[in-house]
């Protein structure tokens, strides 16, 4: 079973739009939305939820007021600024490390599970989909990404799918690392802007760091042809396959409003280009 993650470094490059288009081209895949902060894939794929599971994020320290003697050792040792001056636990800052529990001489602190979100297994018109939602302001999105991937792998195994197609988060931090670790390939969607190029370099660096093969797609390529050519050259210098370029086109927004993928959207000049990219990707994967 292969796993492919669509990432972008920068947000708003069209990652989800492309992932949805690929989802409608994939014949035998499980889809996983790992952009758990701003999950949008469901807006196009319209999943029917069949199973939901609580996501237990970081643990949370709670204090027994009767036992606490205000000695302040918890405050001295907490490295996450999660203990206030009057020795109360600040929920939003607690990373659940349990050091406060370790140093408390009165056994006043215990660690409890905290439900930080939900994960879902759903069905869509293109096959099964695993997605999640993080509760407002909750942390540990990397851990939730890992949970979504784990569930998607199980679904793939049980239903004999040969590909898990992952819509990844933006950036290069914790959730991205969780979304790409161990995958067969990452597809980097970028745009020909100076910031897009800057972020492309960083995200390819992350893929390289974890030794994951990558390939690049330029979206909105005609916004700046010079930069698009520079990206192409950059990719060939780095030996990263360049899968192609998509021009800016209103159909990307129109199809989103209609809840369709770019492949389903009628009379759409982008569809054949995306099909070509998909074929190139399959070729690389089969090598």
């Amino acid at each position: 079973m292969m796993e492919v993650t669509v990432i972008s470094g920068k947000g708003g490059t069209g990652k989800t739009t492309l992932a949805a288009a690929f989802a409608s081209l994939a014949q035998n895949a499980v889809l996983a939305d790992c952009d758990v902060d701003a999950a949008d894939l469901h807006l196009i794929l319209d999943p029917l939820v069949e199973e939901r599971r609580d996501f237990l994020g970081l643990k949370l320290a709670i204090k027994d007021e009767d036992k606490c003697i205000d000695c302040g050792r918890c405050l001295d040792h907490c490295r996450f600024s999660a203990i206030s001056e009057d020795f109360e636990i600040i929920r939003d800052s607690c990373e659940g490390c349990a050091v406060c529990q370790l140093v408390c001489p009165e056994d006043a602190i215990s660690m409890v599970d905290r439900i930080s979100g939900e994960a879902f297994i759903s069905s869509t018109r293109f096959g099964p989909m695993v997605h999640a939602s993080l509760m407002a302001g909750e942390e540990a999105s990397g851990k939730l990404v890992a949970m979504v991937r784990e569930m998607a792998r199980k679904v793939a195994k049980n239903s004999e799918k040969d590909l898990v197609l992952i819509d990844g988060p933006p950036g290069i931090g914790c959730p991205v690392i969780a979304a790409i670790s161990g995958v067969s390939m990452v597809l980097v969607v970028t745009e020909p802007t100076l910031s897009g190029m800057h972020d492309l370099e960083r995200v390819l660096g992350v893929a390289e760091h974890f030794k994951i093969p990558s390939a690049v797609i330029v979206n909105k390529a005609d916004i700046n042809e010079d930069n698009t050519n520079k990206i192409r050259t950059y990719c060939s210098e780095r030996d990263v396959p360049f899968l192609g370029r998509l021009p800016y086109h209103d159909s990307a927004t129109e199809s989103m409003i209609k809840g369709q993928t770019l492949i389903e959207h009628v009379d759409n000049p982008l569809a054949p280009i995306i099909k070509d990219m998909w074929n190139k990707m399959e070729e690389i994967l089969s090598e």
Binding site: D37, L102, L134, N224
Partner: protein, 280 residues
């Protein structure tokens, strides 16, 4: 006054708003809190000076003392340590630097050193100060760098935070202590969906907010209707103008060439100020 420019979704124009607003105000401090992909400096066409390295404590294991009792591995909530009968593995990427293993080791076999996870850079253009946090490639922890970079602007009078995308840890840390959150969105279903999540977070944190619609005209009126229903003020609209997109692609702030927008930015700032003053 601390203004956080956030968005839920990436690519909506946070950096565009933050940079153009800062340039319009002229005298202020811009803090790039999108430490995974800091982009403000690209638009300011300036080279940054390194101020400091951000380092985090990391445990060091003295294997001559270690008895492989496994207590550190049992304690570690982040699965950063694995202990076998005669082997100890430490996974640096998983470590949150809580210091627990060093405290509890019965053999005093754990001490702490530090590792670099990123850096803080600074530049000054006329009366504009820019601070940028930058996460090292391959490092997962953005939050300690965000906390550190914000320290530099703590006592400055007008501060603009360019927030990372999303609604998780890095954004929450950027929003803490902000007097107002400006949520930049696009008038599309994706934009609206992520705006709702961001509004949820900002309201939960009890911070006043305003919405900025970027690429106005590109999609439909779903964001306008939502804001009206929720009583959220739209403090600025940036039209869907190809000239702006092209300038962006070349790293040029649009107020440089579209002078009329400086006035619009300043008027919006006045509204932003009033909303922040009125409180949540």
């Amino acid at each position: 006054m601390k203004i956080a420019v956030a968005s839920g979704k990436g690519g909506t124009g946070k950096t565009t708003v933050a940079v153009n607003l800062a340039l319009s105000l002229k005298k202020c401090t811009l803090v790039d809190c999108d430490v995974e992909e800091p982009n403000c400096a690209i638009f300011l066409n300036t080279s940054m000076q390194k101020l400091e390295e951000v380092r985090l404590p990391v445990p060091v294991f003295d294997l001559d003392r270690c008895t492989y009792c496994g207590k550190c591995a049992d304690f570690c909530m982040y699965n950063a340590i694995a202990v076998f009968p005669e082997k100890l593995l430490f996974f640096q990427d998983m470590c949150h630097s809580c210091g627990g293993c060093a405290i509890l080791c019965p053999e005093n076999a754990v001490t702490e050193s530090t590792r670099k996870i990123g850096e803080i850079d600074h530049a000054r253009i006329a009366e504009l100060d820019i601070y940028q946090g930058k996460l090292e490639v391959g490092e997962p922890l953005a939050v300690p760098i965000i906390r550190r970079v914000k320290e530099y602007a703590k006592d400055h009078s007008v501060v603009i935070y360019d927030a990372p995308p999303g609604t998780a840890c890095p954004v929450i840390d950027t929003l803490k202590d902000a007097d107002i959150a400006l949520l930049v969105t696009e008038p599309t279903p994706f934009g609206l969906h992520d705006l709702k999540l961001a509004v949820d977070v900002v309201r939960k944190m009890n911070i006043p907010l305003g919405v900025i619609i970027n690429r106005d005209g590109v999609g439909n009126d779903c964001v306008d209707r939502y804001c009206e229903e929720e009583g959220i003020e739209i403090v600025m609209r940036i039209p869907n103008d190809r000239r702006i997109a092209e300038m962006y692609s070349n790293g040029i702030p649009f107020i440089f060439e579209l002078q009329e927008y400086r006035e619009i930015m300043l008027q919006s700032y006045w509204r932003i100020y009033q909303i922040a003053e009125a409180g949540p």
